[in-house]
Symmetry: C2
Subunit: 331 residues, 2 copies
DNA sequence: AGTGTTATTGCAACCGATCTCAGCAACCGA
DNA sequence: TCGGTTGCTGAGATCGGTTGCAATAACACT
């Protein structure tokens, strides 16, 4: 358990340290016999290479930062989970960085990651500020953004088709017989939030129904305010689309506190497809983003970019997850 | 933006690299005049020290691993959030490690962290296996566990008083007039889960009421099964204590699916105090763990141990968070 | 046998810091 | 004025690997 350096192993195996190094990181450059011997010895000693020393010398590491604004938000938590998995299947080590929306912190993470020779980074939908910031770094062009990036197609991105998602929600609600459908917005500053809202507005217009935004705030209280707004209306909508599942939860909760039942009195549909939604009361009908795929794709995009400089923009298809928070309108 | 090593700064400032090094890490050892000059030059160049190189040479870093089984579980997410904050106030960088309950992964994280010269680590309630594993490492004695550790008081721990928490729940329910109180268990393998359950059993016995465990499973479906069990009883309890908030959510959801209302038909109280609970339907009454404090205390304990080898076991007081999922029993 | 490859391995410089030791100048008291 | 401190800075080894280059061995070919 003592200090196990490459030299110790080298001595034990009777070879030079460079051979040990090669046995590990460039197996084909060592006679297989020698290699196996070395590996066996190393194994016996319980030796593993120091990622620090490696990174320092190679000037590239396997640490990959995932920058999210708030890990407490289940969407990011789920993203983190699948990305951890995806990263480690590919031999990377994911470092979760939580900014709490503080741009200074984002900055700090970027420099730190640069210093740690991260081969690339992933930033999850955050404020526009963050995506701006990343251009200040060399690093900037080795970042995959899980969001849309405005006016800069040099950064690979993976997103889900917001318009299509809202369309799915709208169609579902229409098919249930709803004609008056309200909307509650989500996290401010995010492109996705903006896109979803825009989609709602446009699609409503195209369908000749007047859009009805119950709340366009972004704070945790948006749900409560939307519910309040709903209560005050003389002619409230029979269904509500929430920009994301968390908001949907909040709306249903607030409505419930005021005696309004979902889906009996009003239908509510979310957007995200959080696992949590299945255990909400009632289980939440929602538009699911393929979070698992996003993780894998993000890493693939980054690798591709690192390899041949190609920049891709992947747009994934959302799907409707029918659970129990929607039903036909109250007659 | 080019490669900025300490030598570059040294040359630019006209001093030797050791002086630059000292200017940063041992300010008092450098003439203030020189130091300021160096710092100014460094600043101008946009220089920051390489944490990698530092860690390699010093054999100690500021990376501190937080090992949790599942970041998707809001409890761990909240823990991660406060710990990130706490860590970084003290100049540490938290590395979130997610095991998904895989002991092999826990092991891997330990070795990795050892290799990265983490000064200590934090492991959050996980299976006993994990806490066993940590003894295999030197590292083992520089770990703080957020849970109780069986038969080994050499590891600092911080926990919340389970018995007291359950007592709070029981008292609250009693004061509301409930006499028949069921219980649903939580994550298996955790000491806390065990402790809560034991507390429930003991306290029920002491209060001369027969304990009624609706489900003692640990998987995500425990809630559903508990609800099922409830429905099948001819004389179901009028209130239910859930071992943790997530289970409470699941129970309420499953009950709701079967037309049982909370708190109208049955009261449900959770344990954890997740922020999410405030936006559940109905807002969840629960026993709150001071998660914020836990993060800070965990780090403090670790530092103390590192400093003078002292090992403390902190037990925090839980508190009742009254919201809307409990009410008097249906007459 | 002589020469040209090719496969393996050793050598030593290097990555970006830290830290012990030594050198040097200024300062102190007698 | 001299030995003894004290304060500050430079030298150079070191942390644990990587990698270009040189050396040697083994094998093929004319």
């Amino acid at each position: 358990m003592a200090d196990l350096s490459i030299d110790v192993v080298a001595k034990a195996a009777g070879v030079h340290r460079s051979t040990v190094s090669r046995a590990f990181s460039r197996p084909e450059a060592v006679k297989s016999e020698t290699r196996e011997h070395i590996l066996r010895v190393a194994e016996g000693l319980g030796y593993t290479m120091s990622p620090l020393a490696q990174a320092l010398r190679r000037k590239t590491s396997t640490f990959i930062p995932l920058i999210v604004p708030d890990i407490t938000n289940p969407f990011f938590a789920e993203l983190a989970k699948t990305m951890t998995q995806a990263a480690d299947e590919r031999g990377y080590q994911l470092l979760l960085c939580v900014t709490n929306g503080d741009p200074a912190k984002t900055d700090g993470y970027f420099t730190a990651m640069q210093a740690m020779y991260a081969p690339f980074g992933i930033v999850a939908p955050s404020t526009k500020v963050d995506t701006e910031a990343l251009k200040l770094f060399d690093f900037g062009h080795k970042v995959v953004v899980i969001d849309r990036v405005e006016g800069d197609s040099s950064v690979p991105t993976v997103t889900v088709d917001s318009r299509r998602g809202i369309m799915l929600a709208l169609d579902h609600l229409h098919s249930l017989g709803h004609t008056s459908i309200g909307y509650v917005s989500g996290i401010a500053g995010t492109h996705t939030a903006q896109d979803r809202m825009d989609a709602y507005l446009e699609l409503s217009a195209e369908g000749n129904s007047t859009p009805l935004v119950l709340d366009s705030g972004s704070d945790p209280d948006a749900g409560a305010r939307a519910a309040q707004h709903y209560l005050e209306m003389e002619n409230p909508p029979t269904a509500i689309i929430a920009a994301n599942d968390m908001v949907a939860f909040a709306v249903i909760s607030a409505l419930g506190q005021n005696g309004i039942r979902v889906p009996d009195d009003v239908s509510v549909i979310g957007f995200d497809g959080l696992a949590l939604g299945a255990r909400f009361n009632p289980p939440l009908t929602t538009v699911r983003q393929p979070i698992d795929d996003m993780g894998n794709i993000a890493i693939e995009l980054a690798e591709k970019q690192n390899l041949n400089g190609s920049v891709e923009h992947i747009v994934l298809e959302p799907e409707l997850l029918m659970r129990a928070s929607t039903a036909g309108p109250r007659k």
